[in-house]
């Protein structure tokens, strides 16, 4: 175990960007969990007389059209955005990995069927698909999560299928059968834990992507509905004020969005290094 810790420390030292990303993620988590105690103002309370104020000592990131404190809204949005991303990704991860690894392990007809279903899904223009799903189900948070999870599903299926397929012929899988394990048990207890590291990279990259996806939906009016504080919709609302010079309306939520996605991406890269067996000695 300590070897693992050493390895992580070594990787982070060799690649400080990963460390920074991990720290950034920690900050985000703190904001998400303790957000309500950290907000200087009520993120939903309007005060039209204080609308569109530039950043100041009272309003660190300025105020929006309704005089709401942007900084507080940013913090409030952290929880929602992370929750959307996390639940969407875990959904598709769980379902996709289950389906994909079973198909990849069993091979044969089941694998072909799953393969062609995945082909069908992959052939869809996925963002349009997400839009259609949200439009069908209604733009509530849970539906945005569902839609995001759904369009991610084929990637997880494909990925886990490939990963499991690459391992199904390995000695220890045969050994597990010689040890009397059933196929299902081999998939769930032996193969899935072994592809987890590879999947973790995918998950990390995907988290960032899911946030962008939700933001894109919001931008098109198919995402979270105002007045809920969410980065995507804040950017979409703020975009209306770029021309009038109220840059802070779009700059801060845009930056929050970018930095968060950046964190997840860099972390994904870092995980890749940490989990790459070739990097281990």
């Amino acid at each position: 175990m300590s070897a693992t810790v050493q390895h992580v420390v070594w990787t982070i030292r060799a690649n400080p960007v990963t460390g920074v990303a991990a720290a950034g993620l920690a900050v985000l988590l703190v904001l998400a969990v303790f957000g309500p105690w950290l907000q200087p103002h009520d993120p939903l309370a309007s005060n039209v007389s204080m609308a569109l104020l530039p950043p100041s000592s009272q309003y660190w990131a300025g105020t929006d059209q309704l005089g709401r404190d942007i900084f507080s809204r940013l913090i409030a949005a952290t929880r929602l955005d992370l929750a959307i991303a996390a639940s969407a990704v875990s959904l598709s991860f769980l379902a996709g990995t289950f389906i994909g690894s079973i198909a990849g392990y069993m091979g044969g007809r089941l694998d072909r069927v799953v393969g062609s279903v995945v082909d069908v899904l992959m052939a869809f223009p996925l963002f349009v698909m997400a839009m259609a799903l949200v439009a069908v189900l209604g733009n509530r948070v849970e539906n945005i999560i569902l839609a995001t999870a759904f369009i991610n599903l084929p990637f997880y299926i494909r990925f886990s299928r490939a990963e499991v397929n690459a391992r199904r012929g390995l000695g220890w899988v045969e050994a597990a059968r010689a040890c009397g394990d059933s196929h299902l048990k081999i998939v769930l207890c032996s193969l899935v834990p072994n592809i987890l590291p590879a999947m973790a990279i995918q998950v990390s990259l995907n988290l960032g992507w899911a946030i962008l996806n939700a933001a894109g939906l919001s931008f098109l009016g198919l995402g979270i509905t105002a007045p809920t504080a969410e980065w995507g919709i804040m950017v979409a609302e703020g975009a209306r004020f770029i021309l009038s010079g109220h840059w802070w309306l779009v700059a801060f939520p845009g930056a929050a969005l970018m930095l968060t996605v950046l964190c997840f991406n860099l972390l994904g890269d870092g995980l890749r290094d940490i989990l790459d067996p070739r990097m281990r000695t």
Binding site: A175, D181, P277
Partner: protein, 555 residues
């Protein structure tokens, strides 16, 4: 101008790893005159390959020559610029690598690759390039060179690829050729052809050859001088007769002892001191034992291709049967079918009088014979679940096949198994990547014997191990059988190993049985041509074997 083709003086090579610098080569010196052949032998990690790469300055990024000097005809290679060094590579010093198919560019036709090499060292017209390339292909005894010129590596056999690799290496007429495990991984018969070709080419052209190998027999057969390496140092070097005939260094002796030969026994392999660690073997009692396994007319087709056809054999309780053959002979397929990991196409398998061939492999995991037939896999590195500790791996069959085993009982059984295979109990909490190859092999065996099976299928259990480790594992297996009354189905390509370990032997070729009988009979008086060829191709460093070499290399 020195008369030494190459001279290495006090060479040190270090690698920077995250755990600090590792010294891979620690002060070695040797020299080679033009036309001489030097065999560098040693086990993995002895630094023999690193030495080769240090000579050609092809060490990877982390590696560095920390001190010492390499001279080529008196010219210090360390002082050359990278561009100057590049011009020497190929035209002065060339290398041949292990795994020839991977060593060739997979998406460039092989002729073109040779032409590339020619092009790098001189201006030739396209026609000249082509002519030279075709000539080189003929030189390495290839026929139909026009077709081969246009072929890609994946379209050629391993042996052909290695010949092309040789053509590539000699294309620009280097004075020194370094062959790094050049034939490892090839079948014995192919190995012999390639090595014979290589040594005659070297002799014809008066090149120097450094043959890096773990196979003492190979070095003995083809080299004039031998250097034995261990942990980055040359422990002993000298003429081949001296080294193998009168080894002085303890390590050399051990190495020689551990290498199976045509007449060695299991007991010979491991020095006296280490043998003590095993319990004294109980006397064998084979004759009159009941029939354990009977395989009749077994066939297996993989989408039309017959991997195994009509194979029959029997195995008595406590008996040891060897299945030998080259790659593609179907021996591994048979082992999987007998272990019921794979379904047969036709034939019958009965185990303890019960027909188990009809139980689908998918459902055999819950069959009561499951715990009675266990298997040890070829590659110990990939036969252990990377996320299981050694304890978990050994406990795995106990947990699934002997359910409701109380916790203490489980602990006891695992420790007992570990003890039986000589695996230190304090290492049980380690993960595979923290263990050595030999230790992993022991876990693989411990796992297989944990449920106290009566039949153990061994699928090349030592093929991936160094000879000294192999020796110990073979000894261990032999002891286990003798004390536990286990029956072995031993699958191997290594004839010497099979001969030592097995009572009877079945020789397979392309999925068919070509010869079967008592091990001693088959090896001493082979009746089939194929068995004879196999036996002849096995290199041996013993002087008797050496005397039989048809085209001895001129030194």
């Amino acid at each position: 101008m020195s008369e030494h083709l190459i001279s290495v003086t006090d060479l040190h090579v270090g690698f920077s790893t995250r755990r600090g610098a590792v010294k891979a080569v620690r002060g070695i010196s040797f020299e080679l005159v033009p036309g001489a052949t030097l065999g560098v032998v040693g086990e993995s990690g002895s630094g023999k390959s690193v030495t080769a790469y240090a000579i050609t300055r092809l060490l990877d990024r982390a590696g560095e020559i920390t001190s010492g000097q390499v001279s080529y005809f008196g010219r210090n290679l360390g002082s050359l610029t990278e561009a100057e060094m590049r011009r020497l590579r190929g035209s002065a010093i060339s290398m041949i690598f292990q795994n020839p198919r991977a060593a060739l560019n997979p998406i460039r036709c092989v002729g073109q690759q040779i032409a590339d090499a020619l092009n790098a060292h001189g201006r030739l017209t396209r026609a000249e390039q082509r002519e030279r390339t075709l000539q080189l292909l003929r030189d390495v005894m290839l026929t139909d060179v026009e077709r081969i010129f246009r072929s890609y590596p994946h379209e050629l056999s391993g042996g052909m690829c290695q010949r092309i690799m040789i053509a590539l290496a000699i294309a620009c007429e280097p004075k020194l050729l370094i062959a790094d495990e050049a034939t490892t991984g090839l079948d014995v018969t192919t190995q012999k052809v390639v090595m014979d070709l290589l040594s005659s080419l070297v002799a014809e052209r008066g090149m120097g050859l450094i043959l890096i190998t773990h196979d003492l027999g190979l070095a003995a057969r083809y080299c004039g001088e031998i250097a034995v390496m261990r942990e980055g140092q040359i422990v002993e070097k000298g003429a081949v007769d001296t080294i193998f005939g009168h080894p002085r260094h303890e390590y050399t002796k051990r190495l020689i002892a551990a290498s199976p030969t045509a007449d060695s026994t299991i007991e010979d392999l491991v020095p006296e001191g280490e043998a003590e660690r095993f319990a004294a073997p109980a006397p064998m009692k084979v004759s009159g034992a009941p029939l354990l396994l009977e395989v009749r007319n077994l066939s297996k087709n993989f989408s039309g291709f017959a991997a195994v056809s009509d194979v029959s054999f029997t195995l008595a309780a406590g008996e040891s049967l060897g299945l030998v053959g080259e790659s593609g002979s179907g021996k591994s397929t048979i082992s999987r079918i007998v272990t019921r990991l794979l379904d047969k196409t036709a034939g019958e398998i009965s185990f303890k009088g019960e027909s188990i061939g009809e139980v689908p492999a998918t459902r055999f995991n819950s069959h009561r014979a499951r715990r009675d037939i266990q298997i040890v896999f070829q590659d110990p590195h990939e036969s252990l679940n990377p996320r299981y500790t050694a304890f978990d791996s050994i406990a795995h069959p106990l947990r699934t096949l002997e359910k409701s085993l109380p916790r203490e009982e489980l602990n006891r059984r695992v420790r007992e198994c570990a003890d039986r295979v000589g695996f230190p109990a304090e290492l049980l909490t380690r993960f595979p990547h923290q263990l050595s190859g030999g230790q992993k092999a022991r876990i693989g065996i411990a796992r297989a014997i944990a449920t106290r099976p009566s039949l153990l299928v061994l699928d090349e259990p030592t093929a991936a191990l160094d000879v000294s480790v192999q020796a110990i594992v073979l000894r261990l297996l032999d002891n286990l059988r003798k004390e536990g009354g286990l029956a072995f189905l031993f699958v191997s390509h290594d004839l010497n190993v099979v001969r030592m370990l097995c009572d009877r032997v079945v020789v397979l070729q392309a999925g068919k049985v070509v010869e079967a009988g008592r091990a001693a009979d088959v090896f001493m008086k082979p009746t089939s041509e194929y068995t004879r060829t196999l036996l002849q191709a096995v290199p041996s460093f013993s002087f008797r074997a050496r005397a039989k070499v048809e085209s001895p290399v001129e030194i």
